[in-house]
Symmetry: C2
Subunit: 538 residues, 2 copies
């Protein structure tokens, strides 16, 4: 029977302290739902004492009817030289209507003197009174001992006395925080073991990643007796972030045989992690452990040929255990094996050592040399391979396009696109407006194709990225545009490269529509109709 470890998620509170991370109430509600489904035990939703957005979150979170997680609100101990009953911050916690309050207090004598500027005795009373008051209001209380490890190293006796006070006042959990993220696994494990020997209350760990040791410190604490881990999804958080639960959970569960969430829930880890970074609008590093797009991606030719024999040769776990999957990257480092594996994926009969294979590899190397990257553009690569195999016929060709963007002071900006295509031998000539250049081009392209290919109605662009390839020349440099498109059941990415961001976007746009049209049948338009919709230009 595996020892259970309680997961406390603070993505919605500490996570939003990270640079560039900001979540609306809507965003927080959506994420809370996902976290509940994943099986985390506590969801820290915010700090009602600090802003109204968080008060609204706690109000609305009741409508979520979470099946598993308890929602908790964050706050600090009472103000110095006042009393708990009348403390606005503590009462906000009570009014927020949560059943669990998480409050932090000072453990580090230096902070008591420097940051809150009071006496060591008063700080002890602040902790005692605050926990006691919240307990008297019927709340479960999680006590976060801020800067505990720095405090312990500076003044062990005092740091211990602060958490003993919290225990004495009835705290349900004592969580040791490495607030500045400066501690190392060795000291964390010693200190946690010492604390566990002194307290009867269960102990938790709240680690930060300033030494790139947030995950290691969390594991060390659990191995030394901690039974709750606080962290965030994707390691969001102040400065270098909090302990990354996307790595902590699988490490505890798959490597150390602790029990955090069910195996089924663990299989949704990757999708939840990606959902959170999408909602937070922060692009996930491809190399993020366990859940990143490259976590099980293989590039080196030797590695690829080995994993073709047995995945275990270069994979530390089966990717599906965390809902991720193996990928083979086609790149200039690649031997033929990568490309062959890719062709296999597409059921293209590509045999080794043929001139055709050599030719395709040359072509890809040449394109990568120009700045294309197919690692993030599977659809463009598939189009390239299918074309090489004569597996698709182009459904339309582009004769010309023109874009006009203009603004007069005062008036709002306008974007118009004019496109001329050849579809089924007919030359289609049309124009459209858009709220941006790419949107105008997209609209004109669809307007021209829709009568022939009604299916494109279903697809839309879901992401648009621009990367300057050679930053030295800035606006005169080459740019790579990646476009992600989706329809009801699929998502695909295409790439365009040019010194001109519009041309690169156009290339990716055209590819994404071509990809969507693979296998779709064209509607034959009677001239009458094409006349009517005024597309055909004789």
């Amino acid at each position: 029977m595996a020892t259970p470890v309680i997961i406390f998620d603070t993505t919605l509170r500490d996570g939003t302290q990270g640079e560039g991370i900001s979540l609306s109430v809507e965003d927080k509600l959506k994420i809370a739902q996902k976290l509940d489904q994943l099986g985390v035990h506590y969801i820290e939703g915010g700090w009602p004492g600090s802003n109204g957005k968080d008060i609204e979150f706690f109000h609305r979170s009741k409508e979520l009817n979470l099946t598993h997680a308890k929602v908790t609100a964050f706050g600090s101990t009472r103000r110095k030289n006042s009393n708990a009953e009348t403390d606005p911050n503590l009462n906000r916690l009570v009014e927020s209507g949560v059943t669990v309050a998480t409050i932090f207090g000072k453990s580090w004598d230096f902070h008591v003197h420097t940051a809150i500027q009071t006496t060591l005795e008063e700080n002890l009373s602040m902790i005692y009174d605050s926990v006691k008051y919240l307990k008297s209001r019927g709340l479960e209380v999680i006590y976060d001992a801020e800067h505990f490890f720095d405090g312990y190293k500076n003044n062990r006796e005092y740091a211990l006395s602060t958490i003993l006070k919290a225990e004495e006042a009835g705290a349900d959990w004592v969580v040791l925080c490495d607030t500045n993220g400066g501690s190392l696994p060795g000291e964390v494990s010693e200190i946690v073991a010492d604390v566990c020997s002194k307290l009867h209350t269960p102990v938790g760990i709240h680690a930060h990643n300033d030494c790139e040791l947030g995950v290691a410190n969390s594991l060390a604490a659990v191995q030394a007796g901690a039974r709750q881990v606080q962290g965030t999804f994707n390691g969001f958080g102040e400065r270098c972030g909090n302990a990354n639960l996307c790595s902590v959970i699988p490490n505890l569960q798959l490597k150390l045989d602790y029990n955090c969430i069910s195996d089924e829930q663990l299989q949704s880890l990757t999708s939840v992690a990606r959902y959170v970074s999408e909602i937070a609008n922060v692009s996930m590093p491809v190399n993020q452990p366990y859940v990143g797009a490259a976590a099980f991606a293989h590039k080196g030719g030797i590695h690829v040929s080995a994993i073709m024999r047995h995945a275990k040769t270069y994979e530390h776990i089966v990717p599906e255990l965390v809902g991720n999957k193996q990928r083979v990257l086609v790149s200039e480092l690649a031997g033929q094996s990568n490309l062959l594996a890719k062709a296999q994926e597409l059921n293209l009969d590509m045999s080794i050592e043929t001139n055709q294979t050599k030719h395709i590899i040359e072509k890809i190397k040449e394109l990568e040399h120009q700045g294309y990257s197919f690692e993030g553009a599977d659809a463009s690569l598939e189009l390239l391979l299918r074309r090489a195999f004569g597996d698709i016929t182009d459904m339309f060709s582009v004769e010309s396009f023109k874009l006009i963007v203009g603004k007069n002071s005062g008036s709002s900006i306008s974007s118009e696109a004019i496109v001329k295509l050849k579809v089924n031998g007919e030359s289609v000539y049309t124009a459209a407006e858009g709220n941006g250049p790419v949107n105008a081009l997209d609209n004109a392209l669809r307007k021209a194709l829709l009568p022939y290919y009604p299916d494109i109605q279903e697809m839309h662009l879901s992401d648009y990225k621009v990367r300057v390839i050679n930053e030295k020349d800035a606006t005169a440099a080459k740019v790579r545009v990646l476009i992600e498109s989706t329809n009801y059941d699929n998502t695909w990415s295409t790439v365009g490269v040019s010194e001109n961001v519009i041309e690169a976007s156009w290339e990716a746009l055209v590819d994404s529509i071509r990809y969507a049209l693979i296998g779709k049948t064209r509607v034959e338009l009677p001239d009458s109709q094409t006349e009517r919709i005024g597309l055909v230009n004789h």
Copy 2:
């Protein structure tokens, strides 16, 4: 006297196995020079056996006259059932002209059977013969025991016998590799300690980050007796990357009192890390420990007021020790304290609680609500603050701009921009071409302003980023453009937001030039001259 730990950098070899990372020979030479200045002991430049690019690197690296680091070439043990003297791969190492060869061999019986498909005995001979041969050619030999930890856990006796063979053949170093990155600090430390008790040869560690423990495992190995750490800058590398030397080095040196590089060299860590990610054209995560832009950035109001009292309250080290610096972020989470700190930075006399201060905070919140982010656009924020303080007068105003981008099949794409400005009461009307829309706008803007502000000759755009703010609407969504500009002594960033990528770029472009012109004097043009250069339009 601190124990020395040898730093082996493999950014140029293992690092290039990372998704999206590709380095030209030029890039590699530039990076090698920086690494040498930083004080790393070994620079692994590539695998001459695998591609010609690397052979050229070793050839040209001799011209670098590195003062400190030894350049080493990577390769594998001899092929099975052949002999070392005639092995092409081993001879490439010899021919590459390096003084140090790094070769890897198999430690994991499973790999011997599955990947190279030979007998355990033959694998031992492959190791012995290869090391012996390279030694006989006068090379220093670093033996990388691939998959050592997995091998040890699966068949301890055999794994140990492989490294004893390498020692017997005269290897100068035995480096234990956690190739799949699946090991945990506890087991790493036990296994390294066991190995150190069995070998006379110095031991090294080569860790990967698949469990987000690459740094922790490297530290654990050193604490258990390893004296060489292999890793990459910014943790580049296959899948989830290698151990990140940007965190390993300061952790060893500042936290554990080992000696890797000099204190002066450590102070260039941040600049070298950023240089490497710029050359590799991979944007560094803002929250990267020690060297990231947010590593010492403070956002929460409470934290900011505390660090104003004493930085140690929320910083685990003095940022300058690694060449980084403290930053205060202005964001919707910010209390006034953040903005006041920022104003202090700019020597603007901004006093708390004034209506002006409140007004500015409101303004910033409103803009952030619209999608602006000043965290990455200090220059735009400074312009905003200076305007609020009437500290600058605008040097020009924009009356209108128009952009035309067009392409006919076959012909190449064209971009033209027409701008109408008011400078010093004169209306300046001009047009320019560019190799892209932003470049065309930039050229037209400079053409119009240059006669009045010759100083803008010195500045140029150094980076251009586009971020889709709300991905749900894709091309119809709002985009945020960040532009970085530089002149000889400065770098500054500006931001523009719009549903139209051209308008957002224009806004950031205009701000970046306005910022450059702060404090610059305008040249008064005699009508005759403005007539001559055909700018003024009566």
